[in-house]
Amino acid sequence: MKFHEMLQRRLLFAAAACFCTLVALPTVFAQEKGADDKKEDEKKDADKKDGDAKKKEEDKWFAVTHADLYTGTGARFRDATVLAKNGKIEKIGVEVDLPEGTTVLDAGGLVVYPGLVAYSSNGLFGAASSDFADSVNTFSPNLVMALGNGITTTGQSGAALKLKRGEIDGVLMKDKATTLLNFSAQNPQGRRSLLDKFAATSQYLRDYRAWEEKKKNDKDLKEPAKKDSDATILQILKGEILARFQSDDRDELLGIARLAQKYGFRPVIEGCREGWTIAEELGRAGAYAVVTPRDRVDKSEELVAAGGTSIENAAILRAHGVQIAIVPSGKSVDLGGIAGRDILALTVEAGFGVRGGLTNDAALEAITIVPARLLGVDHRVGSLEVGKDCDLIVCDGDIMHYETFVQQAVVDGKVVYEKNKELFYAHIRPRNDSALAPETRVDKGQEQPEKTAAAAESKDDAKKDEKKSDKPDKKEEKKD
């Protein structure tokens, strides 16, 4: 059973359960009908007030404070706060009032980044096969290790999944954002047929749009026939889905670039090994490249032109406007004979991108916002912005540095991983004794001054005073 089908069934069941409750409710009320009408009204009012209060209580506030904050949008804050309400980012800033009851993660002296996005992985949700819905395990140690290495979202079999520890709801973020096309030079017939489909579909789309215009005046005009047009390619041309290719060779890449330029779509190219040799064409096509900077293949001896891998591939492509996502060569959590190449080495691989000339920021984008875009979930994850999911990681330094460890991982405004509480890495450079170790507490909130006219006039002054008087209190809280 597909995951979304499973969800649908579950929803149906939930809806059915709700319906039953609704049916049952009148019977409950019926018993009270004999009571005084006035009393009943009062009771209703009281219920309403209680309900409102409950609603407020149900809002879950979460904040990371005093962070050295890297939002992923180019902005960096010092001593910053990220405030989330029910898992969504409500505010980002340096002076943010925290509502009463906010769970506060004090990240003083630590660096906060958006959770990393692995473009593609295997086995984080247990020994999941390609159809992960049958075997999804959100208690899997692999998932915890991935969180411990900063990954909070991953692609798997084309779907975008959130690393929600111990929960199933909300794991599936998007079913499918891309569709794989075969444009292999090894398969000239398939290539020819794909070209034909593009031509036919593009013609159909043009005819259809012309028909839509003309129809305004001539209602009886016949809708153009679909003929040889292809439903998937139609989606691509309409920008509803991204066309994905797996290609490394210069000639193929050039073909894809030209195809994309001709029909006006942005190709996602996995591999893109020789992309650096035709970066300009790929840039003009608005391509996305999913690369492994450490990839190494010598150029074919038959090839006269430049070819093979280049450590500078990612940097050259990006300089020509190609958006870069970075993946390690291994997709699972696995060190069989080799370390530093599996999915946990996402930042290591990005580091090799920097080695080849990418900036640190561009390398971080390549493991956050760009893969989020390719998975169709960049409106929710990949950077820290108001309205997006509160998925972030608290690190003891530059996330790209090999000694840096994720101290805490937060998904949907909930701490789901704490280094010092898991066996995996707790013994390595523990921060328990450090004054800078992150701590979680529940904040009592700041007392709001009474809204009298006088208070309103001196509002700014009051705020300042408040902060002054607040600070010692906060320190005391910490000691507790």
């Binding site: 010598d298 530093g340 580091g351 080695r355 066996l423 707790a426 013994h427 390595i428 450079r429």
Partner: protein, 425 residues
Amino acid sequence: MLKRLLIAALALTTTTAHAQTGEAPKAGERGAPGLAIRTAKALTAKWEGECVIDHALVLVKDGKIQAIGPVSTLAVPEGFEVVDVGDMWLMPGMVDLHSHVGGTFDINDMVYVTQPELKVHASVIPHNPMFKRAIASGVTSVLYIPGSGVNSGGQGILIKTGLDNYEDAVIRDPGSLKVAQWGNPERWTVGVGKSWENYHLRDMFQRGKNYAEAWDKYEKGEGTQPEKRIELEVFRDLYGHRTQVSTHTQVYQVVLETLTMIRQEFGIDVYIDHGEVKGYLTAPLAEKLGVNAILGPRNVDMPRLFGMDTDGQWQGIAAEYQKRGMKKIGFNTDSPVIPQEELQLQVGIAGRYGFDMSNTEGVKGLTIVPAMTAGIADRVGSLEPKKDADIVVISGDPGDPRTHVSMVFINGKRVYDTEVDKRRW
């Protein structure tokens, strides 16, 4: 056919002639004017004492380091060409003691369980394409060794990566006698286990010891001249302390055999090579016996790996050796299992999982430790006077994958320069 051969022969002669006459040697090379390299920071990897010099100057003459020190204390001699590398750092060329990319891959003959007479030097291709990429990551010397398909695959060779001629490139032959303990040789014919493998190793060492002793006696004027047996010749080098045994040894049980059999029982210079898994449990004994540990390429144990008990932790191999008192810890790749150019990543992995590198132990593990371990520290492994001018110009911490190499000198010869060459790595 004959004509084609003739042309080929002619071409060969021309090439050789060209290589021999070549261009005039450049500053720093043998027989040329001196070279002075100025840098913001030199990681000298000197084993004892201060090993970082800020604002350093290195003087190179005739392929050797003439002097190194702070710019303030050292003057550039007249006639020296000056290269200022700005804020790039200098470090010694890296040394990898477990490499298989020195030439062709026919280096894993599995005829006998122990075949100490086989010499890998027959397969060497100097300055081959894999070496070229290795140079671009700062690896200047490697121990090119036979595979681990049998308990002793033969003799390795210590060779420099960036020199065109075999005679120039070779540092020492035999570079080591390769021994592989349990973990790989089970592939041999019927499939064998630890007891059988250890029996055969012990048998080989005993024969070797008898042979070396017989020759030793004869050379001292006692006894008759022994019959020359090429399969045991290497033991004369081993007992003369001119080479070592490099042991591919991993799990606790057989690392213990490396120490107790090869070092204690037979008194041979030996080191732990390709160190992985739980061999670190032997660290206190190894340190006592002066057996160094060269670790990698899987420099970390993850929980559940091979069912090994890690108490649910990720354990850095280097960190565990260090924690138990091992002083000389180096790194290797087992290239091409890990590509030769990724040697430096081993340091990053060690550092990540708890290896304390507060006194540049990472840099030393790539340079002076393997050099001392292989007994070639008189020539390579640190930036010190009289040593070979194998110098790497690097953008920072070699353990960080973001760091890149921009220039490499071997024997004072500039073998890689990103200003001139295409960026190779």
